[in-house]
Each structure stands twice: as C-alpha cells, then as structure tokens.
C-alpha cells in the first residue's frame, strides 16, 4: 500500500477515462495531460493507460510499504525520494519505508506519478479515474492508502527519456467546431491573432480565459460537448471544456482542441498565455 501522508492541493488517480456512459451524462475524466501520463507508463513498461497519480500544483507526500519502481513526469516539481532529488522521466526503485515528497512547482501545472503495473484502486464503470459522484471521492485525502503490486526486480529497456518538453508551448492547435460558422472576420482576427490569458477559473472541468471577445445572441438546443470543446458564451467569454467537463451544453462550440493541445493546456495555470491556431 502507498500511504498518502499529505495529499496536496488536488491529487487524484487517473487512467484513460470512462467510456460508454456519455449518453448518461458521465464525463470521460482520465489523464488531463495524456501525453505525459503515457510516457511515464511507457518507461515502466506498463500498458499506457495504467492508472497513475495526477498531481496538481502542490504535490503530496507519500510513503511506500513494498518495493516497486516509479517514474514521474509532466510538470516540473522539485521531488525528493527520501533525501535525494529525483528527475522527470527516469525510472527509480523504491524500497519499503521510502518517502516521496513533492516540493516546489517550477514549471507546468500537473505531474504524473506512475508505478510499476499501475495503481490498483477500484474500477467503477470501467475506469479508476476519480470523479465524484462516480467515485466516492473527487480527490485523495490525507492518510488514505492506495493499493499497488510489489515488484522486486525490473530492468527497464530505457531508464531515462529525454523528452521533448511542451511545457513552454503556448499554441493550441484547434479544428473547427460545429458552430465555427458564427464567427465573423472581426472575431476570427481576435481569436487567431491575439494571445489569451488563463483565468483563475480553471480546473479539470473547464478552463476559462481572461479576455472576452464580442458576444452573440445565438440560442441553440442542448447538444453534445467533448473534452477540448471551446464554447463561446453570449457575453463573449471563452470556456474550454476539459476531461471532467459536462457531456452536453447549450453554448456554441467554436473550436475543438487537438489531443496534443489538451495536454498542452493541462499544463497551464492562472496567468499563463495561450493562442489558437487552426489546422
């Protein structure tokens, strides 16, 4: 068992997400930054969708009770295994009693901790991804324990990956959303030639942007929304739905983020700058 000594700001268990229940209103959930989560799993030679720990801004302090191997990646935190700092995208062996502490966030927003063979929390509706009310809790809490398999011996084929980091990327590639047509030249110019700032309202459900554009009076019937759907409200506010986002909405869907852009955005926090590029 992994003991959560301190849970941090918003630490969750995530896998690829929950599929097959969108028509019942259940969000996909799953890794926010899929690209980083896949890499840490790959280094441990796990299946890429094994359950990992998603760490947001202020990380946890964790204690291991069995030997295993771990790998962290995504945002850059200063992370110590007992008294030694460890690096992103590198495989480390841990022993019973070892303590892993996440310190200062240096870059990005979300880190991923993968463990050999994945975390073994309960599978609910086909996924381990934490999302209340599907899972009883929305995030990990102090003193909670999490199951994992003990692993004594493992020699990774690659024990360190020089990752092409996208933490500095500011450009979100998008394709046209179903209501792209309502954007006139004036709005398009602003959307594609200006930078936008991440608002304080950003979480696993949605990211809002500080700058507004010209609003609209389009009223539409409720229809499906997806992770990465960019909605424009009547007042001109831009909202980008993320993995825990609602499955239906009534605002025009102007863009759809690429998978890579969702990972890039997942590493942004309040005050960071982004721009849109149409592909």
């Amino acid at each position: 068992m992994l003991k959560v000594l301190k849970s941090g700001l918003f630490t969750t268990i995530q896998d690829a997400g929950r599929f097959g229940y969108l028509n019942k209103g259940v969000p996909v959930a799953g890794f926010m930054d899929t690209a980083s989560a896949h890499k840490v799993n790959q280094l441990l030679e796990n299946t890429i969708d094994s359950a990992v720990m998603e760490i947001t801004m202020t990380g946890p302090i964790l204690e291991f009770d069995n030997p295993t191997f771990i790998c962290i990646g995504g945002a850059k935190h200063s992370v110590a295994l007992n008294n030694d700092y460890i690096e992103n995208f590198k495989v480390y062996k841990v022993s019973p009693g070892d303590i892993l502490s996440f310190g200062k966030l240096e870059k990005g927003f979300r880190s991923y901790l993968a463990i050999k063979n994945g975390f073994k929390t309960d599978v609910i509706l086909g996924s381990r991804s934490m999302y209340a009310p599907v899972t009883p809790r929305s995030h990990l809490e102090d003193n909670q324990t999490i199951a994992y398999e003990s692993c004594e011996v493992f020699s990774p084929k690659i024990d360190e990956l020089k990752v092409d980091s996208f933490l500095d990327s500011k450009v979100l590639t998008v394709s046209k959303g179903p209501e792209y047509g309502l954007l006139d030249d004036r709005r398009l110019e602003v959307l594609f030639f200006q930078n936008f700032t991440i608002a304080n309202e950003n979480d696993r459900m949605a990211y809002q942007l500080v700058e507004h554009i010209v609003g609209h009076k389009v009223s539409m019937l409720t229809s499906a929304t997806l992770p990465g759907t960019v909605q424009l409200t009547p007042s001109g506010k831009i909202m980008i739905l993320m993995k825990d986002g609602q499955t239906t909405g009534g605002y025009p869907r102007i863009f759809q983020l690429s998978d890579k852009a969702i990972s890039i955005l997942a590493q942004k926090k309040f005050g960071d700058i982004i721009s849109f590029r149409l592909v």
Binding site: P178, L226, T248
Partner: protein, 245 residues
C-alpha cells in the same frame, strides 16, 4: 417513413455531429433514435463508438482513430436513406415517486403564490403530464425533460442557490427536472424524488435513456422516508411500462 434533411459537420478529429431541423419535436427525436439504433445494430456496433443523442442532434465519437470526415459523412448519408420504420429502439415510461412536501419542496409555497394556484393544483398539474427525455447531460443522470404544461412555466430564481439537495425536483422556464446530485442551481424546488437518478453501483448507472418518458406521482413523507432507506441499501424498485411495443 419520414426522412428529414440532415446536416453532418465535423466535431474535432474523433467525432462528428449529425443535426436534424432545429426544433423540439417528438417526431424528430424519434427519427434520431431510430437512426442511432440502426447504426448501432448494422454498422457501428463496436464498443469504441459512442453516440450522444440530444434534442435535434446525434453526436458520434470514435476514440480509437481519427475519422475521415469526407468519406464517413457520405457513408452516413447513404445509410440514412436506408433507414426503415422497423429500427426503433424499445422505450419506456418511468413512473417516478416525488414527495411534494413543503419541507422538501422548499419553493413550493412561493411557486403556488407566483402561479396563483393552490399547492394541490401545482402538484396535480406536475403529475398529470407525461414528459419526454430529450437529453441526458449537464450532470450524470440529469434529464432534460420536455412537455411542461405552459401553466407551470415560471422564471428561475433570481439568486441561484449554492447547494440544491440531491433528488430535488425543480421548475425553470419551460423545463422541469431532477437534480441527480447535490449541486448549485437556480431552479424553483417543488419536491424531492425518492429514487436515485444516478447510481454508479449499477451496471447501467442511469436507468432512463434519451427518448424515454417520465411521469411523476405524489407520495407521502412516510413513503419518501422509506424509499430513501431502501435506496441506501440499493433495493428500490422502479415502475416502468413499455410504450412503443
């Protein structure tokens, strides 16, 4: 059978959106569900296809690979012309117990005053109608219900509440519905439904599907309290009848 003029638009690389005429209409919804059922049965049976019907649209999502939009939308149009009467899915009318007690229906008194009707009249109007489920979303298990009698239409509350209790039954504009979880909300609360609309312990966490119908019936506070205890241990029973057999 009717074939509407449908439009197909890309919705990112993994999804596309099929739209029917922009109206809230049972015939349109039925046609959407027929097409969904037809696609599921004949062409897109794989679990990797997800389909979200709502009001006048059907969204198709394929997570395994990008969709070739030009090719696939042509294919869909061809399939749509082959759609036949027979492919309508089985649907149900669900009878849902609601306790319209002033303690649970925290706005019931003010609603009756604003509508200039007695509490009893409000309850009768609300329970006499059969509502159609036009969509499920916003929250897991939240139904968008159509068919509210115009005499029960009233604006949402000026000040939304930070917390509306799970199970609360509300009125807002042309809509009525049940909060499947505790959540913030601005609807006028007139009662509480005693069966959970979302239960992650069940294989199908939400028994209702888009296209089903819902009718509320009034229960006493004692019946409500008993149902709540039953729901906690997962032994609530649901009343349903087929309506398009």
């Amino acid at each position: 059978m009717t074939h509407y003029s449908i439009s197909i638009r890309p919705f990112g690389v993994h999804a596309l959106l099929i739209e029917w005429p922009n109206e809230v209409n049972e015939a349109v919804l039925e046609n959407i569900l027929q097409f969904e059922n037809y696609l599921r049965t004949n062409h897109l049976g794989e679990d990797d296809w997800e389909m979200i019907p709502a009001y006048n649209s059907l969204t198709l999502i394929y997570r395994k690979a990008p969709i070739n939009f030009t090719e696939f939308s042509e294919q869909l149009k061809a399939w749509y012309t082959q759609l036949e009467e027979a492919s309508l899915p089985q649907r149900f009318i669900w009878r849902l117990p609601v306790c319209y007690d002033l303690e649970l229906g925290i706005d019931l008194k003010s609603v009756s005053e604003r509508l200039e009707k007695s509490v009893e009249e409000v309850v009768n109007l609300h329970t006499n109608h059969i509502y159609t489920v036009y969509g499920i979303g916003f929250l897991p298990g939240f139904m968008y219900l159509g068919g509210l009698p115009p005499s029960l239409e009233l604006p949402r509350r000026a000040e939304p509440r930070l917390r509306v209790r799970k199970g609360s039954v509300g009125l807002a504009g042309k809509q009525t519905g049940i909060y499947p979880q505790e959540s913030p909300g601005g609807w006028n609360i007139i009662g509480s439904c005693s069966v959970p609309m979302f239960d992650p312990k069940k294989e199908d966490p939400c028994f209702v599907s888009v296209g089903d119908k819902v009718q509320f019936y009034s229960i006493t506070r004692a019946e409500y309290d008993l149902h709540k205890i039953e729901a906690e241990v997962g032994i609530y029973k649901l009343e349903k009848t087929m309506w398009n057999a």
